[in-house]
Amino acid sequence: MTQSENRLILSDFEKDALKEIINLAFGSASAGLADVMGMYVFLNVPVIEVMQPEEICKYIENEISLSKGLNVVEQYYIGKIRGMAYMVLSFENVDEILTILGLKEIQKVQSYSHDILAQETIIEIANIIIGACVSKIAEMLSDVVTYLPPRYIGSDYSLEAISKELFKPDSYVIILKTVFKFEGKEVNGYIFLVNTYDSIQWLKDSINKFIEAYI
C-alpha cells in the first residue's frame, strides 16, 4: 500500500491520536499484568499499520523470529470496533513466565503436564492484557465490546487461514502492535489488534470525536 492510500484510511493526526489512545489503554493493561506477575512491566511505543489482510501473516512473521517456535493466543472482540487480538510469546518466554510465577515448582509437586500448564498460563495472561487493552480503547471511544473466550493456537498457527476467515480479501485492516517486557527478565511479548475494515469508518469518526474532546 502506498503512503497516500494509507492516509486515506487514517490521517497522520488520526494515527497519532489512536497511538495516544493505545498508550493510555496499554498503561492500564500493564498495571493488571504487573499485579499478576508481581513484577514491573515495560511497554514500548505502540505502532500502527494499515494493510491488506493477506499481508498480516507476513508482517507478524517479519516482526517475530519463528525459528524456535511460538505460542499464540487469539481472542475475537466484537463491538462497533471488531477484530482479532493476538498475543505472541516464544517458547523460552513461556518457560521463564512459569518460573517467575513459581508454577514450575507446583508442576513438579502436583505432576501437572508442562504443556497444559504453559497453555493455561499464557491464555490467562492474554485474557488479562487483551481484555484491559481492548476494553480501555472501546471505553475511550464510547463503545462496549464483548469477547469470545481466548483460544490457544500454539506454534502451528495459521494466521493466513484466520485472516481469510475474518477479513474480506480486498479490505484493509488496522494493526496495532506493542511489545511488553518484564523487568530484569528476558521475556518479550507482542500484542497485535487486527481490526476489520467495517470498523474503520466508525473508528475514524470516534477518533475525531475523541480528538475534539481531548484538545
Partner: protein, 125 residues
C-alpha cells in the same frame, strides 16, 4: 517582565496539544519536543522554568530524559505525565527526581494547580 518558559515533551501531537490548552499562552513561552532526546537538547538550550514530560517515547524514553535533565539541572522542575499506572513506575519517577506524576489523559484542574504550585516555588527562589 519576561515570560516563564515551559517545555512540553511528548511524541504525540495530540497529547502536547492537550497539555498546551491548559497553559496560558499569554503568561508562558511554550516549547515542544517530540521525543526524549530532542527534549533534553531543547532543555539545555532554553533552560525552561519547568517541563511536562511523557514516559513512553521513541529514541529516548521519559525515564532517561528525566535523568539527563536532572544532570543538566539538579533543581529542574519536571512534571511527568503518564498512562502507566503501576505503583513502581511512580516510585521510579519520583526517585529520579520528578516534581510530580500526573495521570494521562491530563485533567485541566490538575495541570492548572500544578502550574500554580510551580510558580509559587519559582517565586520563592
Amino acid at each position: 517582565m519576561s515570560k516563564r518558559k515551559v517545555l512540553v515533551v511528548d511524541d504525540s501531537l495530540l497529547a502536547r496539544m492537550a497539555v498546551k490548552k491548559h497553559i496560558n499562552a499569554e503568561a508562558f513561552e511554550i516549547y515542544e519536543a517530540n521525543d526524549g532526546a530532542k527534549g533534553v537538547a531543547l532543555y539545555k538550550e532554553i533552560m525552561p522554568d519547568f517541563v511536562f514530560l511523557d514516559l513512553t517515547m521513541p529514541v529516548m524514553d521519559g525515564f532517561k530524559a528525566l535523568e539527563e535533565i536532572k544532570k543538566i539541572n539538579p533543581n529542574a522542575l519536571v512534571v511527568v505525565l503518564t498512562a502507566d499506572i503501576q505503583i513502581k513506575t511512580t516510585e521510579k519517577i519520583m526517585e529520579l527526581g520528578a516534581y510530580k506524576v500526573l495521570k494521562k489523559p491530563p485533567v485541566k484542574e490538575e495541570i492548572e494547580n500544578t502550574i500554580k504550585e510551580i510558580i509559587n516555588i519559582l517565586e520563592r527562589v
